[in-house]
């Protein structure tokens, strides 16, 4: 990296580029020290300057075709770098996307990216949303790079950091550097389990951990190691959810009960009203590999900060953690191709409450 007299200007310019609230200190963001409970970083941390550049790009709506979307509007810091407002993400021009935005916490440890695992590196992953017509809508890579270079602060920043103008590699490196800095650990669970602080976790959460790793079988996929825990195996599984959703849609009356406010609810059938489109099935990993064994398979999400990440599952179809626990208690969605580790658990109400207490103890700290 070159260092020069333009450094002060560069950082001041980046500060102007970044939304004020995005610069506010967040739990474990932008840091290079590994919080308690996380494994060593698989790659060396990036420089603060590169992370700052990546942060500015991540929150900048000028990286979308009509200046309305940024990465940070589907991955909101206050929503755990996911998004709480809608079940499925809303893209450029209001396009309805198929899936709920996954949290970006601890993405540095992931080797498969997206719910269907179709990408393998953050440096290349970023171009899917940037160039997708229904996400950020940039018409071409060249147009994107030219637009970034036309913004004086970025023009300057790329030359200071890389000694060269924006390129696909450099843009990917910058945004990846920021995303890799989003670390979430040192939760009450970490302080109890790895820090050996007996006061860090209450009795209900401790009982919940026992259910999580024992009767519940949750840790078979949401793994907890002796020295650290990512709460994911990084693999793809068929939980039966997609199958169950298709079955429900075929079985039930069209439409949905809608809460309209003021105590008024009504069943609305969008297709009958002329405002609906029929969804195409989301077959998960199968759409990438066309391997029947990948049908309905989606990546195991981490459970770090999970209490803040509602709604849940790849399609945001479960509104809260209680509904998620109920889903697995029933044995998943009942798909013939479902992962064999998912079967009815017959939790007691107390066990469900304890599981909730445990999951709440996985929050990033400090809040």
């Amino acid at each position: 990296m070159r260092k020069g007299g333009l450094g002060a200007f560069f950082f001041a310019a980046l500060a102007l580029l970044s939304p004020v609230d995005a610069q506010a200190p967040r739990p474990e963001t932008g840091v290079t020290a590994v919080p308690l409970g996380l494994p060593p970083l698989p790659i060396p941390p990036a420089s603060p300057a590169l992370i700052a550049l990546g942060r500015a790009l991540f929150f900048d709506t000028r990286l979308s075709a009509n200046d309305t979307m940024s990465c940070g509007l589907c991955h909101l810091p206050e929503d755990g770098y996911s998004e709480n407002q809608t079940a499925r993400a809303v893209g450029i021009y209001g396009a309805t996307l198929k899936r709920h935005p996954p949290s970006l916490y601890n993405v540095v440890y992931q080797t498969l990216l997206f719910w269907d695992g179709r990408e393998t590196a953050l440096e290349t992953q970023i171009f899917s949303p940037l160039l997708a017509a229904d996400e950020m809508g940039m018409p071409s890579a060249g147009f994107l790079l030219a637009r970034i270079d036309s913004i004086p602060a970025y023009h300057e920043a790329f030359r200071i950091i890389f000694g060269a103008p924006p390129s696909l590699d450099r843009l990917g490196a910058a945004i990846a550097a920021f995303e890799r800095s989003l670390l979430c650990g040192n939760s009450p669970f970490d302080r109890w389990f790895y820090g050996h602080d007996p006061r860090a976790l209450d009795a209900a959460a401790i009982r919940g951990f026992t259910v999580f790793t024992g009767k519940g079988g949750c840790s078979a996929c949401h793994r907890v190691g002796r020295d650290d825990a990512l709460f994911t195996d990084g693999a793809l599984h068929d939980t039966g959810l997609a199958y169950a959703e298709r079955q429900r849609a075929a079985r039930e009356r069209p439409g949905a009960m809608v809460v309209l406010g003021g105590g008024l609810e009504s069943r609305i059938d969008p297709v009958a009203l002329g405002i609906g489109v029929r969804d195409s099935a989301d077959l998960g990993r199968f759409a990438i590999t066309h391997d029947p064994r990948d049908r309905d398979a989606f990546k195991t999400p981490s459970l770090r900060d999970v209490a803040e990440l509602a709604p849940y599952m790849h399609d945001g179809s479960l509104p809260d953690l209680a509904a998620v626990i109920d889903f697995y208690d029933r044995g998943g969605g009942g798909s013939p191709t479902q992962d064999r580790r998912i079967f009815p658990r017959h939790f007691t109400p107390g066990e469900k409450a304890d599981l909730l207490a445990f999951l709440a103890a996985l929050s990033c700290a400090p809040r």
């Binding site: 309305t68 509007l73 809303v90 809608v258 309209l260 405002i275």
Partner: protein, 436 residues
Amino acid sequence: MRRYLLAAGSVIALAAAFAPCALKADETCNSPYISALIKGQEQFLHVWTLGVEGIGDGSDKLVTIDVDPASPHYGKVIDAISVGGRGEAHHMGFTDDRKYLWAGRLDDSKIFIFDVGTDPAHPKLVKTISDFSETTKLVGPHTFYALPGRMAVQALSNTKTHDGVTGIAIYANDGTLLSVHAMPTTDSGDGYGYDIGINPAKNVMLTSSFTGWNNYMMDFGQLVKDPEAMKRFGRTMVIWNLKSLNAEKIFSVPGSPLEIRWSLVPGEDWAITATALTSQLWLIKRNAAGEWEAEDVGSIGDPKQVPLPVDISVSADAKHLWVDTFLDGKARLFDISNPEKPQQVYEKVIGSQVNMVSESWDGKRVYFTTSLLSNWDKKGNQDEQFLKAYAWDGHELQERFVVDFYKEGLGRAHHMKFTARSGAASLTPPIQFSAR
């Protein structure tokens, strides 16, 4: 946002000091600060039109239609200004001198200022404000409400989260940003915004609440199936002190209260609104103790069927109220001579969908357009896009002409505003009345 607040009080104090206390009208829905109203025959109708991919140039445009029955071009499109791109064209508002028309886009938050005073038959785009979001941190400039020498712009969303927490920006008529004011989020305020209505005589501004970018841009069919998203609609109205722009009272009005119409009759200090999701008419009035209160005064159709009331238009004598219900495509007329007991007295299906309604000052002509939002409009063969002009004889709407916006290669027809040539007999100063 905070850096603009110091200017707030002075801007609104200026507005109140110069309050003309004019009657306002849609002609009956203009700001009370508009310098002249069209009380006779309107000559031109401007329709802020959403571009549709594959139709014409696919861009948003200001369409001008000759609506003077004496004109050889009556009922014809005589002008269309393409502004480039599709940004969710939505609402418009005149400056206080009625020479300029501000038109906003809810997606990319651009504001276009058209000169409609020089030659209303052929408006000219004179300025584009492209930095609304950058400078205000707000998204979705919706309502354009004239103040003396100023324009109040009510937004729907914000740059940080795209939810419904938003604010009001005050601009000078030349397009200079003067101040930004957050919608209240304390004392049960939801922070949401939608429309503005001012009663200068009582020094009050009333606001309503809709929803944020994530919802208004989302496919409507997807939205109603998303319980989390359906929680995020406005449920409040706010009474503000007009001079200080302080929120003074927040009313619980569930179901997203939309357009605000004050009674135009001097001394009748009440306003009426309709809730989109819950299909209710709400009255905002002063009680015996002189306190402002909001009251649910009646249903619009069968709320369980979700007719989705959208635009409303009050008659100049405040005796009648037109209500459009989008999903059943009906225009409904309510007798509101007793505003506490509105009674529906007439209805007519205008089309497969209907959104905006504008009536002439004398109530004899009523115009309807179809588009609600680009991703909320109906699909397939139910996606009619038109302007329909009717005569109203007190008993029946009689169709006068139709402009099919798809056949004309225009797009989705949304907000309407009337103009007339300067010096036209129909263009008259507003009626004055004293503050009480």
